[in-house]
Each structure stands twice: as structure tokens, then as C-alpha cells.
């Protein structure tokens, strides 16, 4: 089992540790719901060192990413800007979703999912060697996400001197390298905050000083309820190699216009021309109970679908889900919860962001 540089901190804090894709990770330190509220209302932190930072170095890095990613890296013109994208198979299936940071014309940084890192690296390397770009996984680095309305304020003074001014000036979805550290104003919770990439040996000290500054340690359990409220997909649950981003609520991340030729483009164009059979929607359960992945969704007069992610939303105090349903699905469905069909309303995510409920209850 793999462990992050912060594993000992988690155990000392009494975390419940689970196997997450081959990594020993904290699912919660105490109450998962309190951790969730800490992020929506104040500040919480997550050890996300299991995710893999990958540096692409060389003059051909941009050209490589223009070909590899469904979103258009050509949009990244200012150094430090970030872009969310899917990386596709030729048939349009999603290999992974990732964030790419443009640092300079010879250096782009990716952050990819833990469970897919090995296959991602193999896929990227196969295409990088033709172009002469170095693909460097950075397992020497740790990553801590500090999220919540007070996250940046509580973090500011704990950054190295060299990072402080640049970090304070960061716009949303931007990053800055500073010496061996890297500070990004990105996240996976629907709240403001930083994702901080730093040398592994320095991570425990930052974790401890953040805790002393009143930032609550939060586990993967709260991370999942926060991202679902924020309407963000989870790779392996909401999309995988068997579906395209167009059927996964991610059409906004795909740039089909123009002459840029990326892997999977042809398949997506064909899919769009033929008409999409399915779509990913948000669901709000109308009764008591909890929506969970793989529950059957019944559309009156229109077939069936499946819940891809479901949970109890601590912010809404209702159950919410993402579900893949027939494209014609209108405003209401039923979900088979333990043998009973319960009504759910189709809504447009996000459910909650920036401390606020974003849908009508």
C-alpha cells in the first residue's frame, strides 16, 4: 500500500484510514459532516499528495497538449493560467480528467488522478517521444489543498517569503511557482482556496502550521460530498473510458471549433452529428433517503438511467446525485432505492458553491 508524506500526521490525528486506489488515505478524522461544513463556512485542508503532478518540459509541450487534450491549451496565454480538460481515447472515451497549468513555453504542469496516473503517463509518453517532450512525474512532491472562504487568509502567512506576494495576487484558476513550491488558486470543493505543491519533506511542517492556524483537517469523505455539491465530476464514477465528455456534462470543456486536431475529436463530432443518446444531470431527491451510485433511474415513458454519484448533501440537508439518463429526460424521474421507487427532480448542477445553495429546494 502506498502512503503519502503526511500519513503519520493522519494516524496521529486519529483518522480512519481506507484503501483509496492503492493508497492509505484518511476518509475522516471525526465527523465527516463537520469537516464538510468547515470548508463551506471557514477553512479546511486535504492531503491530496496521492494525485500525481507531471511536468512536461520542452519546446513541443504546447503542441503535444493541443493534440492530447479535448480542451484547447491555445487558450492559455498568460503564464500561470490553468485549464481543466479531459484526455480522450480515439473513440472519445475519457482516459482521465486533469488540470494543466501553463508556466512557460517550455514548461507545462499537469495534475492527474491517482488511480489513473500510470496509464496516463504511458499514454502521454507514447505521444511525447515523437515530439521530444520530457514527461516527468513528480513523486518527490506533496500536495495540500486548503479550501474555504477563509482559506487564503489563514494560509497567507504560512507560505515561504518568496511565495507570499505572488500568491496574494493570484487570480482565480491561476498558479505561481516560487522556488521549489507551487501555489495554485484552484480546488475541488466549490470554494475559494489554494492547492499547494511542495517538497514532500516540507509537507508535515506546513500541515501542522495550517492546523495551528485553525484550518480543519478534512478527509476524502468530505472531499467527495463537497465536490458533488459543487457539481464536479469524479473520474471512475461519473465518467470513464466507456463514455465521452459530451455524455458526461463536460461539453463545456471540449473545443470542437477550429482546425485543431485532438485525439478523439472525430469520434465526438460523429457523436454530436448522430445526436447524443444520454446526458449527465443533477438529481434532488424529493423524499427522505440517500441516493447512491449505481441505483437505477426510471424515466416515465423514456427508459432508464443510472446514478453515477450520490450522497447526502450536508449543505442542502437533502440527498443529491449525478445520474446518466436518456437525453430526452425532462424534469422528474424516479430512483430505485433499496426496492422502492422514490421521486427525484432533475436539476442543473452545481447544487452548492461559495457557501450558498445554488438550486431551488
Amino acid at each position: 500500500m502506498k502512503r503519502t508524506p503526511l500519513y503519520d500526521q493522519h494516524v496521529a490525528a486519529g483518522a480512519r484510514i481506507v484503501d483509496f486506489g492503492g493508497w492509505d488515505m484518511p476518509v475522516a478524522y471525526g465527523s465527516q459532516i463537520e469537516e464538510h461544513h468547515a470548508v463551506r463556512r471557514d477553512a479546511g485542508m486535504f492531503d491530496v499528495s496521492h494525485m500525481c503532478t507531471v511536468d512536461l518540459r520542452g519546446a513541443g509541450a504546447r503542441a503535444l497538449l493541443m493534440r492530447l487534450l479535448a480542451n484547447d491549451v491555445g487558450r492559455l496565454t498568460a503564464p500561470g493560467k490553468a485549464l481543466y480538460s479531459c484526455m480522450l481515447r480515439p473513440d472519445g472515451g475519457v482516459i482521465d480528467d486533469l488540470i494543466v497549468y501553463f508556466l512557460d513555453e517550455r514548461w507545462f504542469r499537469l495534475v492527474v488522478n491517482a488511480g489513473t496516473a500510470d496509464k496516463d503517463l504511458a499514454w502521454i509518453r507514447e505521444r511525447a517521444k515523437e515530439i521530444g517532450v520530457a514527461v516527468v512525474p513528480r513523486r518527490d512532491l506533496a500536495m495540500i489543498a486548503v479550501q474555504g472562504p477563509n482559506a487564503r487568509m489563514k494560509t497567507a502567512a504560512l507560505l515561504p517569503e518568496a511565495c507570499r506576494a505572488q500568491a496574494a495576487a493570484l487570480g482565480i484558476f491561476s498558479a505561481t511557482p516560487c522556488d521549489e513550491w507551487f501555489v495554485a488558486r484552484t480546488g475541488y470543493t466549490g470554494e475559494d482556496g489554494y492547492e499547494i505543491v511542495l517538497p514532500a519533506e516540507e509537507a508535515p511542517a506546513l500541515w501542522q502550521s495550517l492546523q495551528a492556524a485553525g484550518v480543519a483537517p478534512c478527509g476524502l469523505g468530505a472531499r467527495d460530498t463537497l465536490r458533488l455539491e459543487a457539481g464536479m465530476n469524479l473520474y471512475g464514477s461519473d465518467m470513464d473510458e466507456s463514455v465521452s465528455p459530451l455524455e458526461s456534462g463536460l461539453a463545456w470543456t471540449v473545443v470542437l471549433e477550429g482546425t485543431r486536431d485532438f485525439i478523439g475529436k472525430e469520434a465526438l463530432e460523429a457523436q454530436r452529428a448522430a445526436g447524443l443518446a444520454r446526458k449527465l444531470v443533477g438529481l434532488l431527491l424529493q423524499e427522505r433517503g440517500v441516493l447512491r451510485a449505481h441505483q437505477r433511474v426510471v424515466v416515465e415513458g423514456g427508459g432508464q438511467g443510472e446514478v453515477t454519484s450520490g450522497t447526502f448533501s450536508p449543505t442542502l440537508e437533502r440527498s443529491i446525485a449525478l445520474a446518466r439518463v436518456p437525453a430526452a429526460t425532462a424534469t422528474s424521474v424516479s430512483v430505485d432505492i433499496r426496492g422502492r421507487l422514490l421521486p427525484a427532480r432533475v436539476v442543473k448542477p452545481p447544487f452548492a458553491r461559495n457557501g450558498k445553495i445554488m438550486i431551488e429546494l
Binding site: 469523505g221 440517500v290 447512491r292 447526502f312 433499496r338
Partner: protein, 130 residues
């Protein structure tokens, strides 16, 4: 470590039983069970009057993580479900052996062959499960 009061009996599926002075029985889930489930968000309790056989699923406890059935360790007639849990499922997390009780029943003597453990035996069971 989880609390295991000495005056209760337990099942291997982590329910506890308390015999009340009038001979009726109160049932809930153990401290170990609530900790393993995490924050409870939804509890479905049986209605008064329902007849249960030993081993029947009699309640549902759902946490953020998972849904679990609660099994009646003995047969009998339900006297009451704990209606407070409808709005305060977290009572089970906070006080699993007290305010977090799930149902009360009048036993019919149907034990269904299920083994009831004393606190020492249940503690050994929990320790063995890791």
C-alpha cells in the same frame, strides 16, 4: 476504543439489547457500529404494532457512506420506534446506547437460534474483526 456497556447483550451484527423492567426489550446499534458507519443522516424505524421474527430486518440506518439494515435479534411485537431519529439521526452517533435507541418491542420468546453475546464476548468479537 468503542464503548461496550456491561449490562447489555449484543449480536454479531452489532445490535444491542436492553431488557427493561416491564420485560420489554430496547434495541439499538453499538458504538462500534455507529463509528464504522460514520455520520448518520437517515434512519427508518418500524411502526408500532408490527410483528417481527428473529432475524427480520426491522430498521435502516444510513450514513453519508452507506446504508445498513438493522436486524431484530429476537421475535416480538414492536411497541415503538424512536421517532426522534427522523429529525435527529445523529443521536445514534452521539448516544448509541441512550437517546439513540431504535425500537422497543414485546418479545414473544422467539430467539431464532441467534446467539446473544455478553459484553466480554462482544468485545472479543469486535477486536477480532479489527
Amino acid at each position: 476504543m468503542s464503548k461496550i456497556p456491561g449490562d447489555l447483550r449484543y449480536t454479531k451484527s452489532h445490535e444491542w439489547l436492553r431488557t427493561l423492567p416491564d420485560g420489554s426489550i430496547e434495541i439499538g446499534i453499538s458504538d462500534h457500529a455507529q463509528a464504522a458507519l460514520g455520520d448518520l443522516v437517515f434512519v427508518e424505524v418500524p411502526e408500532a404494532g408490527r410483528t417481527l421474527s428473529a432475524g427480520d430486518a426491522c430498521a435502516v440506518v444510513e450514513s453519508v457512506k452507506a446504508a445498513s439494515d438493522v436486524y431484530s435479534p429476537v421475535g416480538g411485537e414492536v411497541i415503538a420506534g424512536n421517532d426522534q431519529l427522523a429529525t435527529k439521526p445523529e443521536l445514534i452517533n452521539a448516544d448509541p446506547y441512550g437517546q439513540g435507541w431504535i425500537l422497543r418491542m414485546r418479545p414473544t420468546g422467539d430467539r431464532g437460534g441467534a446467539e446473544l453475546l455478553d459484553a466480554t464476548a462482544y468485545a472479543a468479537e469486535v477486536a477480532a474483526a479489527g
